[in-house]
Symmetry: C2
Subunit: 396 residues, 2 copies
């Protein structure tokens, strides 16, 4: 059966990312391509205790339909555990729970984007956001970055050229794919520029809590005095992604409209998992748990970084993330990254080529390496193979 | 902050349904307005056993990211427990797990509907589907029903008038809001007509398993030889709605495209809940559980039906559902149902007025009564109040 799909459906069978992940999934291949958190740190036994308490204390109620904006007890825990420590103001009415932050991205895309509308994103940026924006017909305009994230002169230029833009999407902290973080001064400037041009900001902050070095920087939302910043984060990287729980923090009026749209999308997020995570947060020290994650990721990052220096050919540049899950590398010269990827797969190691992260023109020789979900031996062997493959490729 | 939303956002603050539900939520009001399953039958202790087994057997894996199409073990259980008994053919590749069937509706709307496209629905039909269709700019064309569901002459007329229609949406079994069921012959005719005009059918079957009288009728999907029928159902009414787990059954090619769109929507549905429900289905007799639900609903339906006859004024017509959760009543004469609703609220009883279920012109004096989530005493007192309020209203 050949269906006549709408233009929301991508009209290509060319799933480049799917092909990369499929190649990386070969058991003979060491994958540094993933974006998964370290499963060995998921607090399985604490979750078991929480699940049993939820069955004891709430029983059938936790299994019944719930409200579209999310369980009030979970929203209270979000304020106490995530907003207050990050200096983000917000009451229960400013929060909506989402089915992972992916749902927040898709629903906000739906809420803002008519076919042909412009949105601004970092170059490079998170793949799935670009897919979500494109599914509503967005024209994607990219804004250049440097080591400190989105460049403010480039942003202002883009805003001048596209004052009609509907959204600016940014991951200002430990960005995916680059690991870069925007400093305080630039954040203040960002919020002011967005206000000046009247373009709302969608701030995606799934990694911000996982900082292992440097000084904490408040989210853009902290500097927002007008309600122009829509902030979103997720439990996927700090607790576990399987529950698909994220949240949006914004003006009460926005949250009301968002909730209407969320209701159309899936009525509400998993009620049992919301009870479970609310119970976990009420009974455990989540900061101590996040400190454990950060310590492990720091170790893995430092190991991977030292191996870039010892195993990779000279001249390879890389980002120096102070948190999160990714290092971004750039190999000098005019590199066909897909050919490099194929050469590496032959050597039994995978990364994600940089190209798919660029909604516009890509930068040559870029690659994303993940360190959160690989143990020391795997990092050592993977980086050795990668170094050898890159050296061979460059000397070809 | 006033945002410039897209046309996907309804441009009205007039939330009629919200107002109805708010009035019905008053603790002094007996609500026959809901659409909730009976929480006292949720198998809480069986779910607790399953949750503990999932922590034992799968641990962190059940909390990690999963595949967008859903847990293969759950899809196997769907085939064994739901498709085979309903004579619907399908392999794992024909199934995608969804975040409640609401997500299936929204994503399928997105996949088929461009702004201005026509879709056909029953008059009356499920409210939230109409909201989802409208959010993508659909022009809704309604097809008349009789006691046996959508009328085939009316469907053919609509298809002739709108051969460009993108979808026909139907709830053929224990329909919401009417409780009506389409007989076998009409189902065969329906599938043939849809094939003839080349318009895909979205068959929504959340209630079909809960039959307490009459003879089982296979879903439309059973009669589908061309792959033109997209079938969807849910665990919400037979296990528990809190997990937000539903599923779509269709051609493998459709499921592949659906999975790409689902990935953009929320990456995948709650992995832990998928493991939990798969474990429940592997360790429990779900048919025996559904038989318990059906027995309780039969009792409540028969009680409510007998009270329509004893408490309501003569001439009130009502549907005679053989399963599901709703009775549909029609009060004779030219009735302002909203005024009747207001009068009933004053008497301390709520129903859902029929009007919002009609995407087109509504039928006068219609109302939906729910019997699944109210105990005997509440049904007795609620129906007494309702009968008195209707009688008073008619004699005014």
């Amino acid at each position: 059966m050949k269906f006549n799909y709408s233009k929301h459906v991508p009209n290509t069978d060319n799933d480049a990312t799917g092909a990369i992940l499929a190649a990386a999934a070969d058991p003979k291949v060491i994958s540094l391509a993933g974006g998964l958190p370290a499963a060995e740190l998921f607090p399985v036994e604490d979750f078991r205790a929480s699940a049993n308490r939820v069955f004891d204390e709430h029983g059938a109620q936790a299994l019944q339909y719930g409200g579209a904006a999310g369980l009030p007890a979970l929203r209270e825990e979000i304020i106490r555990n995530f907003l207050k420590p990050r200096q983000v103001e917000g009451a229960v009415e400013n929060i909506a729970v989402t089915t992972g932050s992916e749902q927040a991205i898709e629903q906000i895309a739906k809420m803002f984007i008519n076919d042909g509308d412009t949105v601004l994103v970092e170059a490079p940026t998170y793949l799935c956001t670009v897919d979500a924006f494109k599914s509503f017909g967005a024209k994607i305009v990219t804004v250049a970055m440097d080591d400190d994230g989105m460049k403010m002169d480039a942003l202002e230029e883009a805003l001048k050229a596209h004052p009609e833009a509907k959204l600016i999407y940014t991951i200002p902290t430990f960005q995916n794919p680059t690991g870069r973080t925007m400093p305080v001064e630039r954040r203040e400037q960002f919020v002011k520029l967005a206000d000046k041009y009247g373009v709302p900001v969608l701030e995606d902050d799934p990694y911000g809590a996982i900082r292992y070095s440097g000084k904490a920087v408040p989210p853009l939302k902290h500097f927002d005095k007008t309600g122009n910043v829509i902030y979103m984060s997720s439990f996927s990287k700090i607790l576990a992604p399987g529950f698909r729980l994220g949240f949006v923090v914004a003006d009460e009026g926005f949250i009301k409209t968002f909730t209407i749209m969320k209701q159309i999308a899936d009525l509400h997020s998993d009620n049992f998992s919301q009870y479970l995570v609310a119970d976990y947060l009420a009974h455990n020290d989540v900061d101590a748990h996040i400190a454990k994650i950060s310590k492990l990721y720091q170790h893995r990052f430092e190991l991977m970084q030292s191996l870039i220096e010892s195993e990779f050919p000279a001249g390879v540049k890389h980002s120096n993330p102070e948190g999160g899950m990714f290092i971004w590398c750039q190999i000098p010269g005019d590199i066909d990254t897909q050919a490099l990827f194929d050469a590496c797969i032959k050597q039994g190691v995978a990364f994600v080529p940089g190209d798919p992260f660029y909604a516009g023109e890509s930068e040559s020789g870029t690659m994303r390496l993940n360190f959160s979900n690989v143990d020391d031996d795997t990092i050592r062997e993977g980086m050795k193979r990668l170094g050898a493959a890159i050296t061979k490729f460059l000397n070809k």
